[in-house]
């Protein structure tokens, strides 16, 4: 893909629009979804079915003062929310939405995504630390240990995908899975990979929930314990940016899952591949995120870490070896 000035501008606007719309209206989806699960109606006043609610919320947040508490590290306090937002948007650049839609098809795009995810974690750490609040401090410490613990099994499972596809380029990985659901990594029939890849998928999905700090792993912002966690001292758009960053991380997580395991833009029956299939897949995954959040209670921090270190990491290691053996055998 050659890159002209116009392409760059087009992609910039496109990605910003996609990110902005998702960040705003996923909040609406979450509230509506939660309401339906809880036998409520949810937002319904602003616009049709409350669709203008995100705009109203955004306006309200913008009109508030960004309060910087006394005695905090002002610069880091202001930078942290921005830092939470930037990696999530940047990640969009390497995601292939369809065969022809995608800003950049880098050779090491998988690695880039994980590097950016770590920056989002640093944003939480900085935000919590700079707030000068004990709840925020506990929360950020939790977030770091949690994200560290879950990045390892996540990477180990991604290696299985990389081994099968023979590439670290997300676009190549997606192209490798074209031609119907039996080619997707999760069900892959050839070479007997269906034996292990669904395990990879489950581990990856659990890790994705944990990486995005979603319930039941929302230890960092456990509101009944830590009030609002690292966001306790944030108001106005500082809080808004953290929220948007969280939703964008969910979108990125869903995109990554769709590309790595669910064939990217491929149609399940190998007929009409295109961006609509990709969007359908990520929104089903996002709905699953919401569904899980509103069904389960929160777990405990040590159980969360135990799950990663004692179960997921050994399993993903074993999984990696079996997958490697399968590639060798066939």
């Amino acid at each position: 893909m050659e890159t002209s000035m116009w392409h760059a501008l087009l992609y910039l606007v496109g990605i910003m629009a996609f990110a902005g719309v998702n960040a705003a209206w996923l909040g609406w989806c979450e509230r509506k979804g939660a309401a339906r699960i809880q036998r409520r109606i949810g937002p319904c006043e602003a616009g049709f079915a409350g669709l203008l609610q995100p705009l109203a919320d955004g306006l309200k947040l913008l009109s508030k003062q960004l309060l910087v508490p006394q005695g905090v590290d002002g610069i880091i306090f202001r930078v942290a929310p921005v830092l939470a937002m930037i990696p999530a948007i940047t990640s969009m650049a390497v995601i292939p939405f369809s065969e022809n839609i995608g800003a950049r098809a880098m050779e090491l795009s998988v690695l880039l995504l994980f590097a950016l995810a770590s920056i989002a974690m640093i944003a939480i750490l900085l935000g919590g630390w700079a707030s000068g609040n004990k709840y925020a401090l506990i929360s950020s410490a939790r977030a770091v240990s949690q994200n560290l613990a879950y990045e390892i099994p996540m990477l180990l499972t991604v290696i299985t995908v990389v081994m099968i596809s023979g590439s670290m380029n997300l676009r190549d990985i997606a192209i490798d899975q074209q031609g119907g659901f039996w080619h997707w990594n999760i069900f892959r029939l050839e070479n007997g990979h269906f034996l292990t890849m669904w395990i990879s998928f489950i581990i990856f999905f659990i890790c994705a929930i944990a990486e995005t700090n979603r319930a039941p792993f929302d230890m960092a912002e456990a509101e009944s314990e830590l009030v609002a966690g690292f966001m306790t001292e944030y108001g106005s758009m500082g809080f808004g940016l953290f929220m948007m960053g969280e939703y964008l991380n969910i979108v990125v997580g869903a995109c990554l899952t769709a590309v790595l395991f669910l064939g990217g833009w491929d149609c399940p029956f190998g007929l009409t591949p295109g961006i609509w299939w990709f969007l359908l897949k990520i929104y089903i995954l996002i709905f699953t995120f919401i569904w899980i959040r509103w069904t389960y209670p929160r777990t405990q921090i040590y159980r969360l870490l135990n799950l990663s270190w004692k179960i997921l990491i050994p399993f993903s290691l074993a999984n990696l070896m079996v997958t490697a053996a399968l590639i060798k055998v066939f």
């Binding site: 939660a34 699960i37 809880q38 036998r39 409520r40 004990k134 709840y135 506990i138 939790r142 319930a215 039941p216 929302d218 456990a222 509101e223 009944s224 314990e225 009030v227 509103w294 069904t295 389960y296 209670p297 929160r298 777990t299 405990q300 921090i301 040590y302 159980r303």
Partner: protein, 372 residues
């Protein structure tokens, strides 16, 4: 999970949990000395919603104090009504018509179910499960509607009178109550147990967490579901029968584990037992007046009186001292949560913050009742 903590003062910090905190369900403050996420020392600080009801009682006549009782335990207000009515009736020697006692039992037990439902909702909220809150409120709303029809208010009831109740129940209330019991029995196994009680995350979260021994319960005077979750078979309705409770066949659920799960299970089973009591009371409901002939101004004889009732949180006692005047000379309210909370500091020591909050939720705190 509890680990032995060695507090080093240069490595601990003080965390003020409350008085405004989502997990304290009101204005309770707990001063926590923390070592990382482990609690070295927990010290509840009370009094943020103290209103000196005992002084108010001394300043008002016996009947005037009745509305105050509902303002203490706003979740099980009818039991507080009942307790106050019972102690004054004991002091003044008032006989209550049988039908009135049956109606008292029916409404108190309905209120107990409502209280347990709200506890269940709030407890799950403490553990990060949001959805059960709405399901429990759905059922609780039915009870509140029924009680509103009879008592005229939805939360802070002033329904009981010395010598009876203020309003008779009608056929619609009886039908509505039976329908509600049928509905809750239908929803209980699927909604409450399949979705929540058997959820592995919940079980891991509260099983073996916050273990209170029977001896601790006795030394701290803990009663109600907290004591019954620790294997103490003590229920005022059974062991010190009052009102018409001896006429009903019901069990006292007792669990021996002493952990948060046991207290959870006690309350879940108690709802079923309350439903049994209501059903029997509705079946046996006698005809007759609901109010005895009582003088306008009560002047009980001088002396010391005590009366206990079982509220949703434990044994509520009224220690009443009369000197023959038309207002109480001294009233001490022995509120159950005051004693139940006093063991928190000992049990929470060495626990993780999140576990300590699960323990606090399982104690079922109602702050106005602690602070009175």
């Amino acid at each position: 999970m509890t680990v032995p903590v060695s507090p080093r003062h240069d490595e601990t910090f003080v965390l003020n949990l409350g008085p405004q905190h989502p997990a304290t369900h009101g204005v309770l403050r707990v001063k926590l000395t923390m070592d990382g996420e482990y609690i070295v020392k927990a010290e509840p600080v009370l009094g943020y919603i103290h209103r000196m009801h005992e002084k108010l009682a001394e300043a008002s006549t016996f009947a005037q104090f009745m509305p105050n009782t509902a303002r203490m335990d706003y979740l099980h207000a009818l039991a507080f009504n009942h307790g106050w009515a019972l102690v004054v009736e004991k002091a003044a020697g008032i006989e209550v018509p049988e039908r009135a006692e049956y109606i008292r039992v029916i409404t108190v037990e309905l209120n107990r179910i409502a209280s347990h439902l709200l506890w269940w909702a709030a407890f799950l909220l403490d553990l990060g499960g949001f959805t059960p809150l709405l399901y429990a409120f759905d059922d609780r709303e039915k009870i509140i509607d029924l009680l509103e029809r009879i008592t005229g208010s939805r939360l802070t009831y002033c329904y009981m009178r010395f010598g009876g109740v203020y309003n008779d129940i009608d056929d619609e209330f009886i039908k509505g109550t039976r329908d509600f019991i049928k509905r809750l029995r239908g929803r209980m196994p699927r909604l409450y147990h399949d979705l929540v009680t058997h959820n592995i995350i919940l079980i891991k979260r509260i099983k073996d967490i916050g273990i209170i021994s029977a001896e601790q319960c006795r030394r701290y005077g803990a009663t109600g579901p907290v004591a019954r979750g620790s294997g103490i078979d003590y229920d005022v309705r059974k062991h010190e029968p009052y009102s018409v409770y001896p006429e009903f066949d019901f069990d006292v659920p007792v669990f021996n584990e002493g952990d948060s799960m046991a207290r959870y299970m006690v309350r879940m089973h108690e709802m079923e037992q309350s439903m049994r009591i209501i059903e029997q009371a509705l079946d046996k409901l006698p005809e007759g007046p609901v109010m005895a002939k009582v003088p306008k101004v009560l002047k009980p004889g001088a002396g010391y009186y005590y009366s206990a009732v079982e509220t949703a949180r434990g044994s509520l006692g009224h220690r009443l001292v009369c000197n023959g005047d038309k207002n109480p000379y001294k009233l001490k309210l022995r509120s159950p949560t005051f004693s139940n909370l006093s063991l928190y500091g000992e049990v929470a020591e060495g626990m993780l913050l999140a576990d300590a909050l699960a323990l606090m939720g399982s104690l079922d705190l109602v702050i106005p009742e602690i602070d009175r």
